[in-house]
C-alpha cells in the first residue's frame, strides 16, 4: 500500500506565508506586469482598451508601447471586432475591459467574430466577482465563465493570485486562439511565488488530502486552503486543487479526485449556475458520480458594499467552504 500524501504540496514553491501575514496584491496587477513583459518580448503583442486603461492596468503597457496601444473609447463591441482584425493581420491583441462588458455586452461579437472565426484574440476581463465592491451589481461580473465556456474554440483561465495572473497572461500569448482571462479588482492573497509552475490546462494540487477534494479557481483557492487548514483540526484531510484553467478542464484531475476522495466541493466567485462548479459537475456526473456541493453566488445579482462584507453576505468565505465540505462528507459513501 502506497503512503497517502498530506499537507501543502512542497514541490510547487507556494508562498511560505499563506497562513500567516500573507501578502495581498490585485490580480489585475499581474495582468499589467505580464502584458508589459510580453510587450518587450514580442513586437506583435498589442493592447486595446475601452476607456478603462488605468483600471484594467492596460495603461502600464500603453505607457511603454504607445504605438502598440489602441484606445477605442467606450465601445466594447467595436473593440472586439478591432481585436479580431488585428489578429487577422498577424498581431496578438489583448483587449481589456470589465468582464461585464467584454463577455457580456460584446458577447455576440465574441461569439460570431472572434470564437467562430477562431481569431487569436486575448480577452482580459477585469473586475470579476462580487469583490468589486461599492460599484454594485452592474459592475460585479458574475457570469464570464458561463458566457465564455459555452463557446467552441474559446479557452478560459481564472488565475488565483498575482503571480498566476502574470504567468497566465504571458502564457496566453503562445496559445493559439481566443482566451478569456479573468482578473479581480481587489487585493487578494498571494499564495504562489514566481517559481510556482503554471501549465495551461493542468490543474495543480496545492494541498494533498484524501477525504474530500475542493476544486477552486481565482481567489477562492486561498479560501479553500484556509478551510482545509481549519478542518485539519477535526481530522478531516482536504485536498485542494487550483483549477486555473476552466476550459479546457483537466478532466483527469477531477476523475482522480472523485475516485480517490469520494466527495467534491467547488468554489468560485461567480454564479454557480453554468459556472465553474457546473463545469466540474458535468465531468463528475459523466465519469464518476460522487456527492458534490458548489460554493459560489447562488442565482442572485450582486450589490454595493465593502468587498469583505460582500464575501460574507454571498457565502464565499472559508467558513462556507467548510459547511459545504461537511455536507458532502455526510453524504459520502462509507
Amino acid at each position: 500500500m502506497t503512503e497517502k500524501k498530506s499537507g501543502l504540496n512542497e514541490t510547487l514553491h507556494l508562498a511560505p506565508n499563506i497562513y500567516d501575514k500573507v501578502e495581498k496584491i490585485p490580480t489585475r496587477n499581474g495582468f499589467g506586469h505580464g502584458l508589459v513583459e510580453l510587450g518587450h518580448a514580442n513586437k506583435n503583442v498589442v493592447a486595446l482598451c475601452a476607456d478603462l486603461s488605468d483600471s484594467t492596468r492596460a495603461l502600464w503597457f500603453a505607457e511603454k508601447f504607445p504605438d502598440r496601444f489602441i484606445e477605442v473609447g467606450i465601445s466594447e463591441q467595436d473593440m472586439m471586432g478591432i481585436a479580431a482584425g488585428l489578429a487577422a493581420v498577424g498581431k496578438i491583441p489583448f483587449l481589456s475591459t470589465y468582464g461585464v462588458f467584454s463577455t457580456g455586452r460584446a458577447w455576440d461579437q465574441m461569439r460570431t467574430t472572434v470564437a467562430y472565426g477562431d481569431f487569436n484574440v486575448k480577452i482580459a476581463s477585469a473586475h470579476g466577482g462580487i469583490s468589486v465592491g461599492a460599484d454594485g451589481a452592474t459592475h460585479q461580473s458574475l457570469e464570464e465563465i458561463a458566457l465564455s465556456r459555452v463557446l467552441p474554440n474559446m479557452k478560459v483561465i481564472v488565475p488565483a493570485d498575482y503571480w498566476e495572473s502574470k504567468k497566465a497572461t504571458i502564457a496566453s500569448a503562445s496559445i493559439h486562439g481566443p482566451i478569456v482571462i479573468r482578473f479581480g479588482r481587489e487585493k487578494v492573497p498571494v499564495i504562489t511565488t514566481e517559481k510556482t509552475p503554471f501549465v495551461f490546462g493542468k490543474a495543480e494540487t496545492f494541498r494533498f488530502g484524501n477525504d474530500v477534494t475542493v476544486f477552486a479557481c481565482g481567489p477562492m483557492v486561498y479560501e479553500a486552503l484556509i478551510a482545509a487548514k481549519e478542518l485539519e483540526k477535526k481530522g478531516i484531510d482536504v485536498r485542494v486543487v487550483n483549477m486555473h484553467t476552466v476550459k479546457p478542464l483537466d478532466e483527469k484531475a477531477i476523475i482522480d479526485a472523485a475516485k480517490e476522495t469520494g466527495a467534491i466541493v467547488t468554489a468560485e466567485e461567480h454564479q454557480v449556475n453554468a459556472g465553474f462548479g457546473s463545469a466540474i459537475a458535468e465531468v463528475v456526473v459523466e465519469h464518476y458520480p460522487v456527492p458534490m456541493k458548489r460554493v459560489g453566488v447562488i442565482d442572485r445579482f450582486g450589490e454595493s458594499g465593502e468587498p469583505d462584507q460582500l464575501m460574507v453576505e454571498f457565502n464565499l468565505k472559508s467558513t462556507d467552504i467548510i459547511k459545504a465540505i461537511e455536507d458532502v462528507l455526510s453524504r459520502k459513501k462509507k
Binding site: 502598440r68 463591441q77 471586432g81 478591432i82 479580431a84 482584425g85 498577424g90 491583441p93 461569439r111 467574430t113
Partner: protein, 274 residues
Amino acid sequence: MNYSVPDMKKLATEIRKDIIRMTCEAGSGHPGGSLSSVEIMVSLYFNVMKHDPKNQAWDDRDRFVLSKGHVCPVLYASLARRGYFPPEELMTLRKFGSRLQGHPHRLKLSCLETSSGSLGQGLSIASGMAIGLRMDKKSPRVYCLMGDGELQEGQVWEAAMTGAHYKLDNLCGIVDVNGLQIDGRTSDVKNLEPLADKWKAFGWHTIEVDGHNVEALISAFREAERTKGKPTVILAKTVKGKGVSFMENKAEWHGKPPSKEEAAKALKELGETC
C-alpha cells in the same frame, strides 16, 4: 491583372446567373442583396483589389471583409469566377459538408478573411486590419461591404468613429444602398437618411455613386485611394434584385430563393443560351 470594363460587364451577368442557380439549387439563401452587390464585387475582385488566387495567403494582398454575410452567394461566385475554386462548387451552397456555408465561414473556405452573419460587425474588423497593417507600415488596403439596413446596427457607428479618429485612409467602406430590408423599405422600417450627411459628419470622405456602373465604381475606389488622412465610404445606390425584372425593388426577394420555374425565367432574362 485588371479586367476591362466590357469583360467585367460580362462577368457581372455570369455572376448574376450563378446567384440564381445557386440559391435555386440550395432552396434557400439571399438573392436580392446578392444581385444588388454584383458590380461592387466585380469592380473589387476583377480590377481594384490587389490579390492573387494562386497565392491566397499573400501577405500584401488587399483585404475584403463581407459585413453583410447573407449576400455570400455574390462573394462565392466572384471568388469562383476569379479562380479561387471551381465554379461547379457553387452548386454546393448551403448543403451539408459544403465549404460554402449559408453565411461565410473562414475556417471552411480559406480565401475568406472573416466569418460573418451577425450584422454590423465587419467595419470594426476591417478597422482592426487597417490599424494593424499601418502599424507595420504595410501597403494593403482594406475594403468592407455593408448593407444599408445593416447601418441600423449601432456598432457600425462605433466603427465609423474609430475609422475617422485613427485617420484610417487605408480603409474603404462600401454601402450597398438598395433601400430595402426584410420588413420593407429602409425609410419605413428605420430611416437612414440623410445618409451621406451622416457619414460626412462622422468624418469620412463620402462618395455617392451608381452602384451598377462599373466605371463609376472603379473611379470612386481610385478616389478613395487618393484620399489621405481620413477613411472613405462609397454609398453605392443600387436596385435590390437587379437584373431580374420580377425581383427588382421587392423586399420579399431578400431571403427567398427562386423556384425552378422562376430561375428559368430569370436566367432567360439574363441571356442564358441553352
